[in-house]
């Protein structure tokens, strides 16, 4: 059991590294959030599950933290992406379609 736990922790650490790499290499804030959120969420799941498996006394609390991260992390990055868009951060020049622009200008109009 504890071998599986340590393996999960190593996998989690690898995903953390991958998230950092994605955060560094991606060209604009939206792509960075994509890479960062996915990799760190799975990394946290794996690490915390590993911690819970190595020491069963921690399992309940580790599962609680997993549920908590599953709820907050996507919400946080979604709020952040929307804020960046409404603030006017330009997406990378490779972007092919933008169907959110109308909605964003409508929002800006409502404020006046």
């Amino acid at each position: 059991m504890s071998i599986i736990g340590y393996l999960l922790i190593i996998i989690g650490a690898f995903f953390y590294f991958l998230g950092g790499l994605g955060m560094f290499r991606m060209p604009d804030v939206y792509n960075r959030l994509q890479a960062g959120t996915k990799a760190t969420t799975l990394g946290s799941f794996s690490t915390l599950l590993g911690v819970g498996l190595v020491n069963p006394a921690f399992l309940g609390k580790a599962l609680l933290i997993i549920a908590f991260i599953a709820l907050t992390n996507p919400v946080g990055s979604s709020v952040l992406a929307r804020a960046a868009y409404l603030k006017g951060v330009k997406p990378t020049s490779k972007t092919v379609v933008d169907e959110y622009a109308d909605e964003a200008t409508k929002k800006a109009g409502e404020e006046q």
């Binding site: 340590y6 922790i9 190593i10 989690g12 650490a13 690898f14 953390y16 590294f17 991958l18 998230g19 950092g20 790499l21 955060m23 560094f24 804030v29 960075r32 959030l33 960062g36 959120t37 760190t40 969420t41 990394g43 946290s44 690490t47 915390l48 911690v51 190595v54 020491n55 006394a57 921690f58 609390k61 580790a62 609680l64 933290i65 908590f68 991260i69 907050t72 992390n73 919400v75 946080g76 990055s77 709020v79 952040l80 929307r82 804020a83 960046a84 409404l86 603030k87 006017g88 951060v89």
Partner: protein, 85 residues
């Protein structure tokens, strides 16, 4: 065990350094906040690993509270950026 801990702290450390570079270089404040958010989640996982290393369940409480406060922090700064043009 010690080789294992070298491996995972090494990997996490590399990830943290890359995210930190993005936080320093990031052209806009949204980039910096994204990197900060990521660092917070990495730190939550690291605190859980420390709970295992020191064999003390109290660290998980700290991880929980840290995760909570980092979520609040992300939301607050994001809403602040949203209002500012």
């Amino acid at each position: 065990m010690s080789i294992l801990s070298y491996l995972f702290f090494g990997l996490i450390g590399l990830g943290v350094i890359l995210a930190f570079l993005r936080m320093i270089l990031g052209p806009t404040s949204a980039d910096r906040l994204a990197a900060l958010d990521m660092l917070n989640i990495i730190l939550t996982g690291t605190i859980a690993i420390l709970a295992l290393t020191f064999n003390n369940g109290l660290y998980l409480d700290i991880a929980l509270v840290y995760g909570l406060l980092s979520f609040v922090e992300t939301i607050v700064i994001a809403r602040y950026l949203e209002a500012k043009k």
